[in-house]
């Protein structure tokens, strides 16, 4: 028996089409590869036939399961039922980011934060907010936290570029330019030319839950946001409870206390209920332009959503598809007995690259470690 390549071709085309209908990344180029591959193997050997298609059609591990199921169904009978179920699962992914040099401004921030605490006037919403969780941080811990936040911010937001640029002085010699200078000066040694690696920064979009359930963490969160923005410069900050407010400008001011003051005046429903989904939707609709492949989205929330879960799921899906990374910090993750089982959290989790706790210095240290994983300064081995 000789294989009939004519009808085989049709079947392979149809099979590829069905894979594609199920969300497998597989177009005419793959189909052509598959047909070339089939000419190179013995197609009468079912296993060889299967492996040839399996090597050429799918391109990711997640698609192998879809392939296997469809292969059995399609090539068993050749008359498989047509089903157009869309597979739509993002896969988990670890971060690989680099850290840059530290900034001195954070010490100032930490000092200011401590100072502000003592000088608070009588009653104000700010005071309540400020005192709520502050007791749980010891003075020395605050300093540690400040440094950790900067380290984290840098891991999130910077990476070394492959490109280099000229520099007055650094530890990297620009030999190409040095030699040129040397020649130009007719053998005299005019000095050294240096270069420096460009540090490219990600934009960070920070979405921070300030609703009632997050209340006890608010003080810490504001510090976190403030530190992040201070350390990076390219942070767009938003707070949300039932609706979303952009607070980038408020936090741009140099004083933490003033920032807190202005914030509590501007943000409606501070410490109210939560509608995470519709807040994120609002973000996408009004500020969606901030998202691109170099944007890291950092969401700080406990995931207690009182709105529609589907709204949240869709918003997360869209954020995930448009941003470089999605990091979700959940302060409750560290508390004993808490499992991320709130419906909102469950809906959001599949779209999150890094899910971590952020309720004390230890958890931040852990986060820093997670973010550092995969980052290597020089080749291993």
């Amino acid at each position: 028996m000789r294989p009939d390549f004519g009808s085989l071709t049709e079947h392979v085309v149809e099979f590829s089409r069905r894979l594609r209908a199920r969300g497998v990344l597989c177009g005419p180029a793959e189909t052509a590869d598959a047909l070339r591959a089939l000419r190179a193997v013995n197609v009468l050997d079912r296993e060889a036939f299967r492996l040839a298609l399996r090597t050429t059609l799918p391109h990711r591990r997640e698609d192998l399961g879809v392939f296997d199921a469809l292969f059995d169904a399609y090539w068993q009978t050749g008359l498989a039922q047509r089903s157009e179920g869309q597979e739509d699962r993002p896969e988990p992914q670890a971060l690989a980011e680099a850290a840059g040099p530290g900034t001195p401004s954070l010490r100032r921030w930490a000092e200011e934060a401590a100072e502000g605490e003592q000088e608070l006037p009588g009653y104000s919403p700010v005071e309540v907010l400020s005192r709520k969780d502050f007791s749980s941080f010891r003075e020395d811990e605050l300093d540690v936290i400040a440094r950790l936040v900067v380290a984290i911010a840098r891991r999130i937001a910077t990476r070394w570029s492959r490109r280099r640029r000229r520099a007055r002085r650094s530890h990297l010699l620009d030999m190409r330019r040095t030699l040129r200078l040397h020649l130009r000066w007719g053998g005299e040694f005019p000095g050294l030319a240096f270069q420096r690696r460009k540090v490219r920064k990600h934009r960070v979009v920070l979405l921070c839950d300030v609703s009632g359930s997050m209340d006890v963490y608010s003080r810490f969160l504001i510090q976190f946001v403030y530190a992040l923005q201070d350390a990076l410069g390219r942070v767009e900050s938003f707070v949300f409870s039932t609706s979303l407010t952009r607070v980038t400008e408020e936090l741009r001011t140099r004083s933490l206390r003033a920032a807190l003051d202005r914030l509590s005046q501007r943000v409606p429903n501070w410490s109210g209920g939560t509608k995470i989904g519709s807040s994120l939707r609002q973000f996408l609709d009004r500020y969606g332009g901030l998202l691109d492949r170099h944007t890291v989205v950092l969401i700080v929330s406990d995931g207690w959503d009182t709105g529609e879960v589907e709204v949240l799921r869709r918003a997360m899906q869209e954020i995930r598809s448009r941003a470089a990374r999605v990091i979700w910090l959940n302060p409750l993750l560290g508390s004993p007995g808490y499992q991320p089982l709130t419906r909102g959290m469950q809906a959001a989790l599949p779209y999150v690259h890094v899910f971590a706790s952020a309720h004390n210095a230890d958890s931040l240290r852990e986060l820093e470690r997670v973010l550092a994983r995969g980052r290597v300064g020089r080749p291993r081995r």
């Binding site: 990344l25 793959e30 013995n42 060889a48 992914q93 670890a94 070394w160 020649l183």
Partner: protein, 322 residues
């Protein structure tokens, strides 16, 4: 690229690759052999994904040996730059030349042209690969470690097979290399890169495959011990560990047990050699616990009674999860 790849050698079929792999001491299944074979036949890059320690890098080595050609390796890491991946100027040599030409009366422009020419070029892996006298195997190891920019650059190279050096011009590949890319999936690769490649996912080996590997690669090991080792690893990989041991660890461990003149696994033997398998303190603590006794008991029982191996393996897996 058509006629640039005339000189490529080809292998008969998958069976021949399997044989070539076996000859090289590599125990491959048909899936791996087919992927290597098709990558050569279709002359398309092969993207190999899987956890650390499953033998991704070996694929390229074996491919090079099977094709009887050279292996050129580019180890990726974050911040990998042109100077390490493509080329660098040989500055010592350039300076020497400048010295030698002092007083030669040549103009700076002439001198510059001399020292920025091919003899003064240090070829890094990618340039080496495209200027190689016969199609080599280019291994781009851990591609997931480089940033998107470099990935895009690599994608361009994989389609055009040419490199432009400002001082010299464009260098085109004489022979298109065979390419193997590996990824540990620390970062998602772009769809464009994936679609340029054939795809192979390597899982941890099955019990049978691991047994075969141990028997083959650890000379002098008894079948009984090898079976116990493979079963033990099967149970270990079902544990929730920081670092799951790969095949390399299995082989290290087997060799260590052999060196200690062990013919079977017991608590003492395992504890003395724990470091071969578990590279994290926390993992070692888990392995040392009561879990160990239960696993050893299941393995010993299964072997003594000649029970169905599959049943024992299933019980081991349940042990690890419960």
């Amino acid at each position: 690229m058509g006629d640039r790849s005339v000189s490529r050698p080809t292998l008969g079929d998958v069976e021949q690759i399997l044989a070539a792999l076996a000859q090289e001491g590599y125990i491959a299944d048909r899936e791996i052999a087919t992927a290597i074979y098709l990558s050569i036949e279709l002359h398309k890059p092969l993207l190999v994904e899987g956890a650390a320690g499953v033998g991704k890098t070996e694929i390229a080595k074996v491919m090079a040996r099977a094709l009887d050609t050279d292996l050129i390796r580019l180890q990726c890491y974050e911040g990998l730059d042109v100077n390490t991946a493509l080329y660098e100027w040989n500055y010592q040599k350039q300076m020497l030349r400048i010295r030698l030409e002092e007083g030669s009366g040549r103009t700076p422009e002439e001198k510059e042209q001399t020292i920025f020419s091919e003899p003064f070029l240090l070829r890094r892996p990618l340039l080496q690969a495209i200027t190689h006298p016969r199609a080599p195997v280019l291994l781009v190891d851990e591609i997931d470690r480089v940033d998107e920019e470099f990935e895009a650059f690599l994608l361009e190279l994989l389609s055009d097979w040419q490199i432009t050096i400002p001082e010299i011009g464009t260098i085109r590949a004489q022979h298109v290399p065979y390419v193997v890319l590996t990824s540990n999936r620390t970062r998602e690769l772009s769809d464009a890169l994936r679609r340029r490649c054939l795809y192979l996912w390597i899982d941890y080996p099955s019990f049978e495959k691991e047994l075969a590997i141990v028997l083959r690669k650890v000379p002098g090991i008894s079948r009984q011990l090898a079976e116990q080792i493979a079963a033990f690893l099967h149970a270990v990989r079902a544990l929730d560990l920081q670092k799951v041991p790969g095949v390399a660890e299995t082989l290290d461990w087997s060799a260590a047990l052999l060196r200690l003149h062990r013919d079977h696994l017991d608590r003492e033997a395992v504890e003395r050699t724990l470091g071969c398998l578990f590279k994290h303190h926390e993992d070692q603590r888990v392995a040392r616990g009561p879990w160990l006794d239960r696993v050893l008991a299941v393995i010993a029982d299964a072997q003594r009674d000649g029970q169905s191996l599959q049943a024992a393996l299933d019980r081991l897996e349940r042990l690890a999860r419960g």
